[in-house]
C-alpha cells in the first residue's frame, strides 16, 4: 500500500478522525470568533457609510458571507454525499449529514437578513426574484435532507437515503434558479437587483472577506463537532467509543470541548 492511501485510510478511520476533529474544532471556533469580531468591528465601525444606502448596507457584512456559506455547505454536503454513496465510506456519510444543519442555519440567516435589508431598501420584506426564491428552496432542501435523515431508523441507511436526496437537490437547485429567472421575465417589473453596481470600496471589502473566512471556519468547527457526535452514534458499539464515553464520565475530566 503506498503512503498516500495509507494516510487516507488512517484519516478515514473513525477513532483517528475523532482525535483530529477534537484537536481542530476549538481552533476553528476560536479563530472564527477572533476574525469574526474583527470583521464585525470593521463592518460596523470602520467601514464608511454608503452614499446611497446609508447605514443599512452594513447588513451585507453578515448577509453575503451567510449566503456564500449556505451554498458552500450544500456543495460540501453533496460532495461528501457522493463519496458516501459511491464508496460507502462511513466518515463521508457522517460529514455529509453534519453539514446539513449548519448549512440550514446559514441559509436561514441569509433569508432573514436579506428580508431585513429588503424592507428599508425596496420597501418590502420579500420579493420573488430568482436569487431569493432559490435561497428559499435551498432551505427547504436542507429541511428535506434533515427530515429524511431523522425519519429512518437505521442510521447508515438514513444517511445514505438523505445523501441521495442531497444529490437530487444539486440537480434541482440550478433548475429552480433558471425557472424563476424565466418566470420573472414573464412578470416584469417585480425584479429588484439585490446587488447594485458591484464597485465596492476597499474599506468595505476587508471586513467582508474577514467575515467570509470566519464563517467558513465556523462552518468547519460546527461540522467537526457534529461529525464527532455522528461518529459516536455510528460506532456506539465499538471499543474506542466506550473508552471515550467512560473516560468522560468522570467528573474531573475537564478541558474536553
Amino acid at each position: 500500500m503506498n503512503t498516500l492511501t495509507y494516510w487516507f485510510h488512517k484519516l478515514g478511520s473513525p477513532p483517528t478522525f475523532y482525535r483530529i476533529a477534537t484537536a481542530l474544532q476549538p481552533w476553528c471556533y476560536g479563530v472564527a470568533l477572533v476574525l469574526g469580531l474583527i470583521g464585525l468591528y470593521g463592518g460596523l465601525v470602520v467601514a464608511p457609510k454608503d452614499y446611497q444606502q446609508g447605514d443599512a448596507y452594513r447588513i451585507i457584512f453578515v448577509h453575503v458571507p451567510c449566503a456564500w456559506m449556505g451554498l458552500f455547505a450544500y456543495l460540501f454536503m453533496a460532495v461528501n454525499a457522493f463519496i458516501a454513496l459511491v464508496w460507502r465510506i462511513k466518515l463521508n456519510e457522517v460529514l455529509a449529514m453534519a453539514s446539513a444543519p449548519v448549512g440550514a442555519a446559514f441559509t436561514f440567516v441569509t433569508l432573514v437578513t436579506g428580508s431585513l435589508w429588503g424592507k428599508p431598501m425596496w420597501g418590502t420584506w420579500w420579493t420573488w426574484d430568482a436569487r431569493l426564491t432559490s435561497e428559499l428552496f435551498l432551505l427547504f432542501l436542507y429541511f428535506g435532507v434533515i427530515g429524511l435523515y431523522n425519519a429512518i431508523e437505521d442510521r447508515r441507511q438514513a444517511a445514505r437515503a438523505a445523501s441521495f436526496l442531497a444529490l437530487i437537490g444539486v440537480v434541482n437547485l440550478p433548475i429552480v434558479h433558471f425557472s424563476v429567472n424565466w418566470w420573472n421575465t414573464l412578470h416584469q417589473g417585480s425584479t429588484v437587483r439585490l446587488f447594485g453596481p458591484s464597485r465596492i470600496d476597499a474599506s468595505m471589502l476587508w471586513p467582508l472577506l474577514l467575515l467570509a473566512i470566519a464563517t467558513h471556519l465556523w462552518f468547519f468547527g460546527s461540522v467537526l463537532a457534529r461529525a464527532r457526535g455522528g461518529l459516536i452514534e455510528l460506532d456506539a458499539g465499538k471499543d474506542w467509543v466506550r473508552t471515550l464515553a467512560l473516560a468522560q464520565s468522570k467528573p474531573t475530566a475537564s478541558g474536553v470541548t
Binding site: 428552496f137 427547504f140 432542501l141 429541511f143 428535506g144 427530515g147 429524511l148 425519519a151 429512518i152 441507511q157 445514505r160 437515503a161 441521495f164 436526496l165 437530487i168 437537490g169 434541482n172 433548475i175 429552480v176 433558471f178 425557472s179 424563476v180 424565466w182 418566470w183 414573464l186
Partner: protein, 227 residues
C-alpha cells in the same frame, strides 16, 4: 415471446398493475374528487366574480392537480412494499429501473390521465380564458408525467416508513417547483399573448431526461430504502 424475458416481465407487470387498479377502480376517483374540491374552495374563499377568478384559474388548476398527484403518490409503492411484491421485483433478473418505469407508467395512466381529462371542467369552474381551453390540458399532459417521475424517486426514498405523508410533501414539493413554473407559466404567457412555446419545449426536454434518469434514480433510491 419467451416467458421470463424482460419484455414478458414488463408486460406481466403492466397487466397485473392495471388489473389491480381495475379491481379497486373506486380508489382512482379519490384524486379526482380531491382536485375538484380544492378548486371549488377557491371561489368560496375569494369570491365568485369572473374578473377575480379568471387570472388565477390556470394556477389553481395546476396546484390542485399537483396536490392531487401528491396525494396519489403514496400508493405508488406502498402496497407492493407491504405485501412483499417489491422484494420480488428487486430480486427478479430484470433491470429494476425498467420494472419501476412500468409501475410509474401505470400509476400515471390511472391517476394523472383522469385529472387531465377533468381539467377542462376544473377550468370552467374558474371561468378559464376560452383561449386556453386547448393549451391547459396540453401543458398538464407534459407536466404530470414529470411530476409522477420525480415524485416516484422521492416515494422510493420514503418507502419503508410508517408515516411518510408530510415528509414526502417536504421532499417532493421543492423538486416540483420548476415543473410548476414552466407548466403554469406557459399558460399564463399565452393568456397575456406572449410566446408560450419555449416553456413547453423546456418541459418536453425535461420529460425526456426524466424518462431516462428518473427510473434509474428510483431504482437506486429503492435499493437504499429497502436495505
Amino acid at each position: 415471446m419467451r416467458p421470463g424475458s424482460t419484455r414478458a416481465a414488463c408486460l406481466a407487470l403492466l397487466r397485473r398493475d392495471l388489473l389491480l387498479v381495475w379491481r379497486r377502480r373506486g380508489d382512482t376517483l379519490t384524486p379526482l374528487l380531491f382536485a375538484l374540491i380544492v378548486v371549488a374552495l377557491f371561489p368560496l374563499a375569494i369570491g365568485a366574480q369572473m374578473e377575480t377568478l379568471r387570472p388565477i384559474a390556470v394556477g389553481v388548476v395546476f396546484v390542485a392537480t399537483l396536490l392531487a398527484g401528491l396525494l396519489a403518490l403514496d400508493s405508488l409503492f406502498r402496497g407492493d412494499y407491504e405485501d412483499g411484491s417489491l422484494e420480488q421485483l428487486v430480486v427478479s433478473p430484470h433491470p429494476l429501473a425498467l420494472l419501476l418505469a412500468c409501475k410509474i407508467a401505470v400509476h400515471w395512466l390511472t391517476t394523472a390521465l383522469p385529472l387531465i381529462a377533468l381539467s377542462p371542467l376544473l377550468g370552467e369552474l374558474l371561468f378559464l380564458d376560452p383561449a386556453l381551453r386547448g393549451l391547459l390540458p396540453l401543458a398538464l399532459a407534459l407536466t404530470t408525467p414529470l411530476l409522477s417521475l420525480i415524485g416516484a424517486v422521492c416515494v422510493a426514498l420514503t418507502v419503508g416508513m410508517q408515516r411518510s405523508g408530510m415528509l414526502l410533501a417536504l421532499l417532493v414539493l421543492p423538486l416540483y417547483v420548476p415543473v410548476l413554473i414552466f407548466g403554469a407559466g406557459a399558460c399564463n404567457a399565452a393568456q397575456m399573448g406572449l410566446p408560450y412555446l419555449a416553456p413547453l419545449l423546456w418541459l418536453a426536454a425535461g420529460l425526456v431526461l426524466a424518462l431516462v434518469l428518473a427510473p434509474l434514480a428510483c431504482a437506486a433510491a429503492l435499493r437504499i430504502s429497502t436495505s
